[in-house]
Amino acid sequence: MKIAQPRQVPHELQLDLPAFSGPIDLLLELIRKHELDIFDIPIALITTEYLAYVDAMPTLDLQTGGEWLEMAATLVHIKSKMLLPPDPTTEEEPDGPDPREELVQRLIEYQMYKLMAEKLDDRPQLARDVFAAPSRAAQYLLDVGPPTLREATIEDLVKALQRVIQRHENKPNWVYEITREKLTLRHLILEIAALLRDTPRLPFEALFENTELSRHRVVTTFLALLEMTRLKMIKLFQARLTEDVLYIERSVIDIVEISQSLELQ
């Protein structure tokens, strides 16, 4: 099983930056290390050290380390502003706003939440420090049946699926090893098998209820039915009274299991 890496710090950087959760965190640490006054940060020193640190990162590109570079740019910008003599052509007063001010504000605010986070982390946490009795539901279910569920709609289910899908859309490393056509056939056989698991006999139309009807789907469904008939997994027949209804009947017990183990060439 794969555990997702926290995404905000790119994987490559994380190896080398275990201690810092971001550029602001690194700056705070540099300030602490040199016992600097946060209101009078020697910007040249900090910038040099920060850049050295960023430079030492094994792989840094704009994609993975954007924030680190952005902070570097900010520092360099502040440094250049402080080196420049006040521009006489502007209205700006000679003792205008300190270019470091915004940075200081961010550092202070971040520092505050960092402290809060530490305090929160000190509390006993469920499943880390304290444990509750595991669900004993199974013991009682025998007596009373499954617990009542609070109402959930089918939309909730779809939303849940959409969440999963959205997460997957960003996942780059998908492998396609098998042709689409072959899988579609297999997939449809499994779908039909799943339907037949609950209801041993289905009208043909049931296979298309609430699905997008496409030529490809219809054709593949027919192929699937033929394949399943050939393998004696299902029987096709028509009702005697209403002759226009085609029925599909399951002719094996473990239809899902059998379908799953199909080798389609």
Binding site: A133, D143, L149, Q162, I165, Y176, N210
Partner: protein, 191 residues
Amino acid sequence: MNLQTTIAAIEALLLATDGPLPQLRLADLLPDATPHTLDEALTHLHAHYAGAERGIHLVHVADALQFRTNPAFAPTVRAMYESKPVRLSRPAMETLAIVAYRQPVTRAQIEEVRGVDSSGVLRTLSDHALVEVIGRLDDLGKPLLYGTTGRFLEFFGLHGLTELPTLDESEADTLHQMKLRLDAEGDHGEE
């Protein structure tokens, strides 16, 4: 480890255990307690968690120990289970969605999609009779295949699985690709 601490430690273990806790395991988990202290602690606990005036009883199941509710309160406990509507958690809902749209599906396949261990949620879902084991995959280790139940249909007011809402094109496409990938892995064995 003194008697009082040993008693407390055993209490904690018995609360948190997932099933009857074998006495031998207890000794393993409390290496600092002497066999004598362990015996004394257990005697104390047996006397303490017993009788009509206690809601929790310490019972012996074969060579293992377990806290159980005092049978006298069974009706009250049953009432709690009967009436309390449980809300499915987000992870449970997501897992259920994967099972519904992708059945039959193995736990490994679910975990591949969700990226996290899903044994707990799957247990919850089968406790709620929303999913069940519907077979075994004919693959290495013969992993269990999960599918949805009749209660699932009932719960969501569906007449059949074909009534599951369809997704819009791009979603369906992503799902399809997920399936391709899972199927490909199913065919070639999972790591």
